[in-house]
């Protein structure tokens, strides 16, 4: 391997010392132009939303929403969304759904993944397949019965109904990912603990779970984002404004303030803040997370 990489390295350093614009540099520059153009084009919807959100409604009507430079700068739209728009309540509700849901789904799926990755018994593969197959079901297939079930259990229009379906549905994906990860943990480790007399519960809690921290972190980030952004289950299971989450509150703004796009864009940006923060802070886990364990 060393003699393969070597010529490339020298060739590169020679090119660098010559400082000429060889075909390699030209191609590289071209790639940067293409990538930068795409990246900038990709940001246009977001940037235009930000631009709208910091202007006053009066400025937009008087000078047109895209006049540049803007005749106003304000953060009042964000304040209005947070207070009058009710987003402080929507945020609280969403956190009250997402945090317990993520903790519960990780705990429960780590149990199944632990058993399925450590023990082979009749039907263990079938059970794994059931979990994996379920993770791709279209939500619409579950919608009517889950809606009826929530009514039946008297949890319709409560945050609990959302926690329940989120935890249950994501068991498939989390079990799948954690199972993949746990298989890479050497059997000797758990065997040694067993020989020392540790109970199965202790092996799970004190040996396997701490080792799964990277996978759990990756899953927590992904699931936080997915559940924060859920819309279908909220509009199916929640009716009252008091129990609305961020996505429901957002779509409700359109009816209430039909023409105030400054407020709507501000609220949209607010709604995205937690997931953007989670993404930026945990970027590495986020990207690696989708394939944890499968490539080692």
């Amino acid at each position: 391997m060393a003699d393969i990489t070597l010529p490339r390295a020298t060739e590169q350093s020679v090119a660098k010392t010559r400082r000429s614009l060889g075909p390699r540099q030209l191609k590289r520059a071209l790639l940067h132009v293409i990538l930068a153009t795409i990246a900038i084009a990709w940001m246009i919807p977001l940037v235009s939303a930000i631009y709208t959100s910091v202007r006053t409604f009066a400025d937009g009507t008087a000078n047109g929403p895209w006049s540049f430079p803007p005749h106003s700068f304000t953060l009042q739209n964000f304040v209005d969304a947070w207070t009058d728009g009710g987003f402080s309540g929507y945020f609280l509700n969403t956190f009250l759904v997402v945090i317990p849901a993520v903790i519960l789904m990780l705990l429960l799926s780590s149990m199944t993944a632990f058993v399925l990755s450590r023990y082979r018994f009749r039907g263990s593969r079938l059970l794994l397949m059931l979990f994996i197959a379920g993770l791709l079901l279209p939500f619409q297939v579950l919608l009517i019965p889950v809606y009826r079930l929530s009514n039946f259990l008297n949890i319709y229009d409560t945050l609990g109904s959302l926690v329940a379906i989120h935890v249950a549905f994501e068991l498939g994906f989390c079990t799948f990912v954690l199972h993949n990860f746990m298989r890479t943990i050497p059997k000797d480790l758990t065997d040694a603990a067993a020989v020392d007399g540790a109970s199965v519960f202790r092996i799970w809690w004190q040996v396997v779970l701490p080792l799964c921290r990277p996978a759990l972190a990756a899953l927590a980030t992904l699931e936080f984002t997915w559940k924060w952004n859920d819309y279908l289950w909220v509009i199916t299971l929640i009716q009252s404004t008091n129990n609305a989450t961020v996505t429901l509150g957002l779509s409700g703004l359109r009816g209430e303030f039909v023409t105030n796009w400054n407020l709507i864009t501000a609220a949209s940006l607010l709604a995205a803040v937690p997931t953007v923060i989670v993404y930026l802070v945990l970027q590495r886990q986020f990207l690696g997370g989708l394939f944890v364990g499968s490539n080692k």
Partner: protein
């Protein structure tokens, strides 16, 4: 039973499984399975049963056999939804997947600013679909949206399509938003896949004199096959699940002349808005049947990888 006992004894280094451990193991499997059965597989089966009934959500459901399905196949709205879902699927399986793959291959070269480019393209995945939907509604607004403002500048006000209000363009506008989001997803999946490829494989091909296209076509792409299968399945399932963007962007759920009606929105309208639970369930069953083919492909691929390890 003997295999179970033998397997368990092996794991525990010939020690017998204590009864407290047995209880833990059973609980570890049973609790999540029960929840999964009640909220996922149970409802999926119940939907199939409901599709054979007439049910208004108030009185008891009435068994009507295949009536919902015969009605479905005569319903022009169903045909429209199927066509739209098909268009969505074809567009989704071609444009964002190719773009995502190309971007991943380029970004895998570790150019400068890779992180920055990657973040810009991935960022939409972090936003919720209602946020994206509202942003693009604002973007495509006919009178003073950014798109038409720019078009107006270029054409001196001669071109100003209605986008979401135009039956011919509404689906395209919604799809633009969906593609904007999906490219980053595909890119990230492929980037993760490319990281898993042994660099020696590609270096060997370079030594053998392969040019870049040959390298991609004959080495990289075949090695990415498992990722490609996952990307395709996810893309297909995402297009079958598509709902939120249509719901938010064409406010009235189905757009002008049902131009953006999809199976998912049709199902939701029937069940939740019109209280025709049986009819809605029939649409859901059609969705399930279409998905099932891809779900099986996916499970087979995953299980195959499982055996390789």
């Amino acid at each position: 039973m003997t295999t179970l006992v033998r397997g368990v004894t092996k794991v525990f280094g010939r020690k017998r499984v204590l009864s407290r451990d047995r209880i833990t193991l059973v609980l570890f499997m049973a609790v999540p399975l029960l929840i999964y059965a009640i909220w996922v597989w149970g409802p999926a089966l119940a939907t199939v049963a409901i599709s054979f009934t007439r049910w208004d959500n108030v009185s008891a459901p009435q068994w009507i056999g295949l009536h919902n399905y015969t009605r479905l196949f005569q319903d022009p709205l169903f045909k429209q939804s199927l066509i739209n879902n098909f268009i969505w699927l074809v567009v989704f399986i071609t444009i964002p997947t190719t773009a995502g793959l190309a971007l991943a291959v380029i970004l895998d070269r570790k150019l400068k600013f890779t992180r920055l480019y990657q973040s810009a393209i991935y960022l939409p995945m972090v936003l919720s679909l209602p946020v994206i939907g509202l942003m693009f509604t604002w973007f495509f607004k006919p009178d003073d949206g950014l798109v038409n403002t720019l078009l107006g500048l270029i054409s001196h006000g001669n071109i100003s399509p209605g986008w979401l209000a135009d039956p011919h363009l509404a689906l395209a506008a919604v799809l633009t938003a969906a593609i904007w989001r999906h490219v980053g997803y595909v890119m990230v999946l492929y980037l993760a896949g490319l990281k898993g490829i042994d660099p020696a494989m590609r270096e060997a091909a370079v030594v053998d004199g392969a040019n870049e296209w040959q390298l991609f076509r004959r080495v990289t792409l075949p090695l990415l096959k498992p990722v490609t299968i996952i990307v395709l399945v996810i893309t297909i399932i995402e297009s079958l699940r598509a709902f939120d963007l249509v719901y938010v962007m064409t406010n009235g759920l189905e757009g002008p002349n049902h131009a953006t009606e999809l199976l998912a929105t049709m199902m939701f309208n029937a069940a939740i808005h019109n209280y025709e639970l049986g009819y809605g369930a029939a649409v859901a069953v059609i969705l399930l049947l279409i998905s099932l083919a891809f779900i099986i492909t996916y499970v087979a691929q995953v299980m195959r990888e499982e055996e390789e390890v």
